[in-house]
């Protein structure tokens, strides 16, 4: 694997939704500048674990998280950490494209504004342009930055959401089934974008489609019933998986 640095290090993470033990003892090291895919059947906990990485589970009252999750060797669940600041460092893109009902410019500029990343309008313009370029959507919208974000097509909206997420210069990008609402061409565009993004960020993507995980990721983790069953290099997982449960899921033998 060479000397890729470890960006996120999770140890013995347990997550409870009330009485339901959703994540059982997951330990994983996620590498920097790499795309890591989480695959597994419905309800296996992959989305839940993803949401632990930027503490989005805090918004759910009955959710309890134990164990340690360290990003850049800092425990993100420590008292001193403000989840709001964490989420500027760890961006998130959701399943259904959800641009704010504002202009394209304001969509991208909102994050930098509230985190005070720009000194003046010129800076903000630069940040917005850079983010939109990163989101592979600049050329399509540069002439209509003031038009509403909700007026774009599905694929464009999702790329806008990705641009919005990278506008705050995060170091980790979390993506929860980002292509499940998109048609094949938009999906391919987003996947290409993810491949570009991994040069600058550590990307963790949850996906239902094994083909997508195979296409897009360098490392894959297979979750099953709250456990992380196998974690390895993507090519190896898809040709010679070690665990029979992984093999069963990948070849379509269990749901």
């Amino acid at each position: 694997m060479g000397t890729t640095a470890i960006k996120i290090s999770a140890r013995d993470v347990q997550v409870y939704y009330g009485d339901n033990h959703a994540i059982k003892n997951v330990s994983i090291d996620i590498e920097d500048k790499t795309v890591t895919a989480f695959i597994g059947p419905s309800g296996c906990g992959k989305s839940t674990f993803l949401r632990c990485l930027n503490r989005m589970n805090d918004t759910i009252d009955i959710c309890k998280v134990t164990g340690s999750i360290r990003i850049d060797d800092e425990d993100i669940y420590e008292r001193r950490v403000d989840p709001v600041q964490l989420r500027a460092k760890v961006g998130m893109v959701f399943q259904k494209p959800n641009p704010f009902p504002k202009s394209i410019y304001d969509n991208v500029a909102y994050g930098p504004r509230i985190h005070g990343l720009a000194q003046n309008k010129g800076d903000l313009d630069d940040i917005v342009e850079r983010a939109l370029r990163r989101g592979a959507i600049w050329n399509e919208v540069k002439d209509r930055l003031q038009s509403p974000g909700t007026g774009l097509s599905g694929g464009q909206q999702q790329r806008l959401c990705i641009a919005r997420a990278v506008a705050t210069e995060p170091e980790v990008l979390l993506m929860d089934e980002p292509c499940s609402a998109l048609d094949p061409i938009a999906t391919a565009q987003v996947e290409e974008l993810i491949d570009e993004l991994r040069k600058s960020f550590s990307v963790v993507i949850v996906t239902h489609s094994m083909q997508q995980a195979a296409r897009v990721s360098q490392k894959t983790a297979f979750f099953h019933l709250g456990n992380m069953v196998e974690y390895g290099e993507t090519g190896q997982i898809f040709t010679t998986p070690q665990d029979p449960r992984t093999e069963s899921y990948i070849t379509g033998r269990i749901g």
Partner: protein, 234 residues
């Protein structure tokens, strides 16, 4: 893999292509045996049947390749399924080559029947062919039962075939040196012997595919090449 696929059509496709492989294996096995018998009994009719039967083997290989391509395109097989399809494609190629050698053997039988028999060479060749045929049967069993050990065993037995070929090579040289009138016959017999040895190599290749299919890796040790005829001076 005892579990079924959720998509039963996938299982049906796999079953169909595996059935074809088994059929092809059976045909090739029969071709070897029949060819050997016709050589020994100098039965030209039998030999002609073997030659005609090769067409069916070639057709099966074509069909299997088509089915494999379709399977890859439509089912996106991964892990064990992917190794299975790749193995099947290689195995059918090897079987087709074995079938071709059997056909070649039958062709030369026609010529040899015109000439005088050369001592018991036909018998030795039959024994060699029987050994190869047994290897093929075992490797097909190993394939059906996903038995990597048996396949490994078959790989080892190839050296016996190679030894037999070495012996035959020396024998033919002796015959040719003894009586130059034997040269033509011996040349044909030698080619037959070489073909049978090549058949053994192909069976070994099939066995290696079976090991890859089951374990995910090709067998590590280099194939024992006991055929020294190309390197040693006899």
């Amino acid at each position: 893999m005892t579990q079924q696929h959720i998509t039963s059509a996938f299982d049906r496709d796999l079953a169909s292509i595996q059935a074809k492989i088994m059929k092809m294996g059976g045909l090739v096995e029969a071709a070897i045996l029949e060819g050997a018998i016709s050589l020994e009994t100098r039965d030209e009719e039998r030999a002609e049947k073997v030659r005609a039967a090769d067409k069916a083997i070639d057709l099966l290989e074509e069909k299997i390749n088509e089915d494999a391509a379709r399977l890859i395109a439509l089912r996106s097989p991964t892990a064990g399924d992917l190794r299975l399809v790749l193995a099947i494609m290689k195995i059918s190629g090897n079987l087709e080559r074995i079938g071709d050698y059997a056909k070649n053997m039958a062709k030369r039988t026609g010529v040899l029947a015109q000439m005088a028999p050369v001592s018991d060479s036909a018998g030795s060749l039959r024994r060699m062919a029987k050994e190869v045929s047994k290897m093929l049967k075992d490797v097909l069993d190993a394939y059906i039962h996903r038995d990597a050990e048996l396949a490994g065993d078959v790989i080892k037995r190839d050296s016996d075939v190679d030894q037999m070929y070495n012996g035959l090579f020396r024998e033919f040289l002796t015959f040719m040196m003894e009586d130059p009138r034997n040269i033509t016959a011996c040349m044909h017999l030698h080619f037959i012997g070489k073909n049978i040895e090549r058949m053994g190599d192909h069976v070994t290749a099939i066995a290696e595919q079976v090991v890859y299919l089951v374990t995910g890796e090709y067998p590590e040790e280099d194939r024992v090449k006991s055929d020294v005829t190309s390197t040693q001076t006899i």
